[in-house]
Amino acid sequence: MSTQPTIQPATAHGEPIPAIAVRGLHKSYGHHEVLSGIDFFVDTGQVVCVIGPSGSGKSTLLRCVNRLEEPTSGEILIEGVDICDPETDLDATRSRIGMVFQQFNLFPHLSVLKNLTLAQRNVRKRSKDEAVEIARQNLAKVGLSEKESAYPAHLSGGQQQRVAIARALSMKPDMMLFDEPTSALDPELVGDVLAVMKELAQEGMTMMVVTHEMGFAREVGDKLVFMDGGVVVEEGRPVDVLSNPQHQRTQAFLSKVL
């Protein structure tokens, strides 16, 4: 895939607009508050990793970014556009945000190639030839060209996740969200998926990654955000947060996982 020129949207003052800007986000299920006032930013071209114990709200935050979860209050701007505004075309916005799930969520009744072309045709209205060409480029990128006529059930977990990444990339998104992309994989299959993600990061893709892979966060991430109890506890350069955590809760978490 050719690397897209990164266009920096600019405000009237020449300030770059963040790819993702979350302000004062609250999310509750009944009386249970999962997110308690989150401010969170991802700049264009940045790779931001989000870590934290389970139940800290990190996946909920990520799912709010393309409104798979409905925020209770707060503001979410994608490239400056408020996605909670009823006037916003949510489907169009979502098509510019690639999403990769923990459970892959490939379409089991469609071949790998069809998984990659369906939304291109249905949403982007690309011709069949164009969609197939883009799909093949992305399959090659994740190293699975020979699997285009296979069905998801016949692929390993690692292969399925790489197909899922290729499916998201085939929409030519401006940014990618990864929701614990390696958590459901056997340990020996994690490396292939992380390698694909690293390559994407090096090409300048804007990425938000909820993960438990501290090595990936340290090596690839531009920023690391630690969440606990529905708030951002600490954020900064990955190397700083990981080796010199300031907050006691961060220290306690890292001592358990590192």
């Binding site: 798979l68 489907d91 945000i97 379409f107 089991p108 369906l118 499916r167």
Partner: protein
């Protein structure tokens, strides 16, 4: 006596008793009379005076035709009802629920009589296709209610992640339903839907209670007419013949369902 020996003796005892009963019944039965009343030679002859001709070319053909029409249109109705039942719009959900509960709670026979005679008497209106058409509409309405519940279960069996993946790619709610969810739901419900098809074949027999022209009669209706006419009149021969025809159609289908279920169990393992 050892437990296993005693058990084996018990089994032999039951087998012996069953055989004795069968032999006694066979010995005391009046086979001539049974043969005459249930398998009258005149009715089952292959000549022009036999029953097979009308039973097959009129009865069985119409039964299959009515079943196919009721199944296809009932399925279309079922899709609409299931989507309404799962709709975010409360009014649609309410109407669909009320419809399904209403028609599942009634005997199909009363709906058929209502459409075939009640409506024409009350409003002077006969549905298209005459009385058989009216009965068919009733069957479609009832079958749609049952099949919509089957479909709803199938739709709900598709994991939520499938919808989320499609929506995250920018697909609309409708496109997600028709291209991602429904194709997977239909796979799950093919065995139960085949079962509904078998039930529907048998339910078309209910149409025999409303008057039909000679050429529009389904299988049970044709068989009933042969009770009092033709070479086997006055005997039950035509009913036995009709029963055989029903079994020839339904048993392969129930076997098909069993095979589908075995295959599905294997595939999901």
């Amino acid at each position: 006596m050892k437990r296993t020996t005693r058990r084996r003796l018990n089994i032999w005892g039951i087998n012996l008793a069953v055989v004795v009963v069968i032999v006694v019944v066979a010995l005391i039965a009046d086979w001539g009379k049974i043969h005459h009343n249930f398998w009258n030679p005149g009715g089952v002859s292959l000549g022009s005076d036999g029953n097979w001709g009308d039973l097959i070319t009129i009865g069985a053909v119409n039964t299959v035709k009515y079943t196919a029409i009721a199944f296809i249109l009932g399925l279309v109705l079922a899709v609409v009802l299931a989507l309404a039942r799962l709709s975010p719009i409360a009014t649609l959900r309410w109407i669909s629920t009320a419809y399904v509960e209403f028609f599942r709670g009634l005997p199909a026979l009363i709906v058929i009589i209502f459409m075939g005679t009640g409506l024409p008497i009350a409003f002077g209106w006969t549905p298209p296709g005459g009385l058989v058409g009216a009965g068919l509409i009733a069957l479609i309405m009832v079958a749609g209610a049952y099949m919509s519940e089957t479909l709803r279960a199938g739709i709900q069996a598709v994991p939520k992640g499938q919808t989320e993946a499609a929506r995250s790619l920018g697909m609309s709610g409708g496109a997600t339903m028709f291209k991602i969810v429904l194709p997977q739901a239909f796979r799950v419900v093919i065995p139960p839907l085949t079962n509904e098809f078998v039930l529907l074949i048998k339910d078309t027999a209910l149409l025999s209670i409303i008057g039909a022209t000679v050429g529009d009669r389904e299988l049970t209706n044709v068989a009933r007419d042969f009770l009092s006419s033709g070479a086997s009149a006055g005997t039950a021969t035509s009913l036995i013949q009709a029963a055989l025809i029903y079994l020839v159609i339904t048993i392969p289908l129930t076997q098909l369902v069993a095979w589908q279920e075995r295959r599905q169990r294997k595939a999901t393992r």
